[in-house]
Symmetry: C2
Subunit: 392 residues, 2 copies
Amino acid sequence: MRCTSEIDVRDVDESCINIDPIQVGGRLTADAMKAVIAYGDGYSVCDHCRKPFRLDFIQKPPIQQFHKELAAFVNMDEARVVPGARRGFQAVAGTYVQKGDPVLITALSHYTEVLAVENNGGIIREIPADDGKTITTDSAAETIETVSREFCRPPVLLFLDHFDYQYGNEHDVRGIIRVARQHDIPVVYNGAYTVGIMEVDGKGLGADFVVGSGHKSMAAPAPSGMLAATTERAAEVFRTTEARTDLTGRTFGIKEVEMMGCTLMGVTLVGMMASFPHVRERVKHWDEHLSRGRKVVESLERIVGTRIQSEMPRNHTLTRVDTIQSFDKVANTHKKKGFFFSSELKARGIAGIIPGATKVWKFNTYGLSAAQSDYLAETFLGIAEKYGLDIQ
Amino acid sequence: MRCTSEIDVRDVDESCINIDPIQVGGRLTADAMKAVIAYGDGYSVCDHCRKPFRLDFIQKPPIQQFHKELAAFVNMDEARVVPGARRGFQAVAGTYVQKGDPVLITALSHYTEVLAVENNGGIIREIPADDGKTITTDSAAETIETVSREFCRPPVLLFLDHFDYQYGNEHDVRGIIRVARQHDIPVVYNGAYTVGIMEVDGKGLGADFVVGSGHKSMAAPAPSGMLAATTERAAEVFRTTEARTDLTGRTFGIKEVEMMGCTLMGVTLVGMMASFPHVRERVKHWDEHLSRGRKVVESLERIVGTRIQSEMPRNHTLTRVDTIQSFDKVANTHKKKGFFFSSELKARGIAGIIPGATKVWKFNTYGLSAAQSDYLAETFLGIAEKYGLDIQ
């Protein structure tokens, strides 16, 4: 089926149980879908833009109110919408990182944090993970000391992923932020895998910034996201233009330099807003999503040779699994090679695993109903059984 | 009518003739609307993302092909999609502008160019406009000389709007670029008001970069846009990451630093792609849109006291008009004050003029059918007649 002569209809979330590691938190709610249809046109939220002509002041649709609610949602003072979490990282790095400045990330940090630092000439230093692939407070404290000695000054910024994208492991954000604050290092809490699916208390954690992703975890179209800050940091990262042109003497009001003025002028923002009441509700039910995910992980563990690479018990629905000694052994002799696994999944209505992957792969069960997650757990076992793998 | 409990349905383009200065080129085509519905979910274009894991390599939907066609469309060598034209300016400024560097804009440049320069510590110098509010080659040449003397080196970059956002006036891009090239100054051709509504020949003009806006002129959802470059400049502005993390030795393949990796991962890009065949066709019919717009301008000129502030004859459908001596005189005694005008327009099915504006205001007739533009022309005259303004 096609929606234009060159573009196929996308119906993966209508026709399958999708467990794609990055997609599941970004599925639109029904309200968002309705809003997307009404606000598809470019600049669609600008009908009622009046002085001072900035996106977050627009009252109809209620964008101004949404910004306040967004800040409150993660318990921060100010928030702006941005075209993806990465634009949040970029804005913060652009504000604090000068050439040659040491910047801390972790051994499991997302690549977009690295790009944000690289583009400002900062020097990356990683906080190591422990054997269980988690970042501990001790490790952070030690790295801060080492890097401070190396550069004769503390790092200018710390990017901290609450849950990382590689393993979906939880890292000790509270402890690490406490240590960073002792050294006056501003901390960016990367909530790409938390904001919108579980409750986040930015100021409670001591974070200077909270970054969230609309298309990853807030049931919003891409590219969308949020950058929230404390009042003190907001004055820095959301600083307004001071430019005055030399000849005409033009000034540009309260446009914010790092935001490049307005950010999401249409469908992306309205989609985010339409989903928001549902998102605010769904974060209260994170435990249910987590326990469903754990059941799926338990069934995978029953397949002999399968090893969960993520920390156990799971604290996130994103999980990395090693099936080299189970499904990959089947792939070695199957005529479809590794593609047998995705074929079998597809035949059973499961989508989102990279086709051909039978060694190490990731999946995310967020958003599945109890019936769907039970079905998924049974499906993994069923495929294992079909190919004669031992089940404990 | 509401699409959620807090968000009204937007139907301005369904229920009215919309002449909003910034919105008319961003109305979705029917194909884009279908694509938007199918690709609303976050990360919706990533289903078939395979190595090397970059947006512009995805073949299904045909994003890779689209990027090639996009570059060819403006006769440049390479193109990337970006979240709005402003992100294109930001990427170029980030590549070429260091603290203290002189950067040329024009007296009519868009504010986002200023922000891009400001954020990199560049020093703005404006090329003056002449009395007719156009930027001439002579003026550009003189400013380049003056600024080069002032800084003992030529400016590092020139931002040049083919048509400006204030008057919709055409500036001598060909001549100005020729002069800039003589001084080895890279030029950003700002096509926010051209790319997608008229034919643009980037390399023919000698531009180093062509920036376009999806939501302003390419019938695409917001935020979207494009940044195109010559092969030589592409290597600079689309440079890939060179970062290698210190501890884990991670590298990040061919992710592009200024793009922050991938840019438009869903509805914005697919909307742009779905509209593209129509956009490519519609640019051939620019003359028709222009002549319809001229008829509207002619009718406004017949209202005694009204003055077209934009250059005449019009070379763009975006026009700035001064009605201080016509409609504003009515406003002075009308109980609704300036709002009488927007009320009268609204009652006649015309939307897009800032409510209350009767002094100096802008409108854009792009995309109107012949019948609609005739109706609009008559409507302006009809309102003038109703309030006893003289008509020539």
